[in-house]
Assembly symmetry: C2
Homo-oligomer: 307 residues x 2
């Protein structure tokens, strides 16, 4: 059943004459006649009484008329809706970001970018731990991934089908709640007393955890550390540290406020800070125009492209 047949049908109902309706539909009268016949064959009975002038609808045709009208209306309406949905999806910028960056870095970074380049696209952000973010990127569910990067921590994101740009810098540093009333840490890697320092550690899915493991930062701190709690969520570990539950390595972006307010203090000197980058990753394959515009804006505005 060709939807053109329905248009033909309505044109004939409207015009009342095969030849006039055919002209309106832009085909010859014989072709038009055959298409009407085809529709009648499909329905299974005559729709028009050709014996009267102008041609009139049979009972079957009378019943079929609203069907044809509604079907066409729904079809064209549906097509428009699908197009709109496709367009909206194409213009949506889909980000993935690790949770730490979603909370602190992403909002002002996006705002600055929007202010500078006046993006109007809608934005979708998937906040997850690093392993989940990588899966999202692999499945193409996000166009961009914002995460921490350290040369020692390998990832397939550094491989051929992906590219990245640096968009900021950060530090990983050990923090702890302060000793009550003082500015000295409750726990510190340099402690040598009997009980091990309780460590608030990252589980394997975490990007920061990978960096810490790769740089052997914990081991090299020289501390006797006992894992007391693990999470893949930096903010959870920070909350635990704030509560005096142990020592945690956290990104500066996440604990700057706490350090300023004194609710957390450095547990080691700045010389032990691990410098890390914040990078924006994308698949090398061509993305949607809005995504490409964003990439160009990031590349042009903030740093040099990297592989």
């Amino acid at each position: 059943m060709d939807s053109a047949w329905l248009e033909d049908f309505l044109a004939l109902v409207d015009g009342g004459h095969f030849s006039r309706a055919a002209e309106q539909r832009g085909i010859t009268q014989p072709a038009f006649s055959r298409r009407v016949r085809a529709l009648e064959d499909w329905v299974g009975g005559p729709l028009f009484d050709r014996d009267s002038q102008p041609v009139t609808l049979t009972p079957a045709g009378l019943r079929f008329r609203p069907v044809a009208e509604e079907t066409l209306r729904r079809l064209y309406q549906g097509r428009e809706a699908a197009r709109a949905a496709g367009r909206a999806a194409a213009e949506t910028l889909r980000f993935a970001a690790t949770q730490a960056l979603s909370l602190t870095f992403f909002p002002p970074w996006l705002r600055a970018l929007e202010a500078r380049e006046s993006f109007s696209a809608t934005v979708h952000l998937t906040a997850a731990h690093m392993a989940a973010c990588e899966q999202v990127m692999l499945r193409g569910e996000a166009q961009f991934l914002l995460c921490h990067h350290h040369p020692a921590a390998a990832s397939f994101l550094m491989s051929e089908p992906f590219r990245s740009l640096p968009v900021g810098t950060d530090h990983l540093l050990p923090v702890s709640a302060p000793v009550p009333g003082a500015a000295t840490p409750l726990f510190s890697p340099s402690e040598t007393s009997g009980t091990p320092v309780p460590l608030l550690g990252f589980s394997g899915e975490s990007g920061i955890g990978r960096i810490l493991a790769a740089t052997r930062a914990v081991e090299e701190s020289g501390a006797r550390l006992g894992p007391s709690f693990t999470s893949h969520l930096a903010s959870v570990l920070v909350a635990m540290a704030r509560d005096g539950r142990g020592l945690a390595w956290a990104p500066m972006s996440l604990v700057a406020d706490d350090l300023a307010r004194g609710t957390l203090v450095r547990a080691a000197g700045p010389e032990r800070d691990i410098a890390i980058e914040i990078r924006l990753y994308r698949a090398r394959a061509r993305q949607s125009p809005p995504a490409e515009r964003l990439w160009a804006a990031v590349a042009g505005g903030s740093g040099t492209a990297g592989g």
Copy 2:
């Protein structure tokens, strides 16, 4: 837009694989692939993400899915409804009958026919005056016409494209209200007193009027008659006569009750009665099966066919 494309679309949504959906749809995978592509071209954007296994819907496809489902449902539903409408119309027996026969003759005649032949078809009856009935037959809006017939009253119904069967006999007779308290007519054609007898006459559209005109019954009655009221409706004239307003020629079928009850009396002796037939007319052209069955039943059960 071919509705088959919508079926293909839903099959692919369901199956998740081009090759499996193609098999289900009874075509090869390449052809199926092209038809899906054709639908996508028509919609104006991709509906499936072919990179995932099984293939998944894009946002546009997700939006289009209910459209495809509803469109197909409405289309098939509408087709069935149209078929049913056509079938019902084809199985409806459409009669036209003059009003006098609609009221008295038609109901018991149809009941007897149904009892004898066990028809189940629905019946439509158009009751109108003779001229309107003829138009109905000419336009094919009725398959059968039930009316009075007299050889002297010509009609195109006696011409080649029509056939007829006698289904009963009747008489036209002059009637009048009785003289109060007696069984003699208030008005009679044999009256010779000064004032003319008021005539309740048929207008030209009436079949009975034509017969009376053709047989010159009124003139040959020898009465001095003054037209006082005309109608194309026999029952109206009878009601007027019952009210003592004059003399009317009426079919026996219509006034038998009145004569039995004495609310009307004969205004002339039975020797002046005009014998008429009740005939069933049809177009010679082949009619619907139920109509042909009815015709055969009438022809076989009650009389001999006529031209």
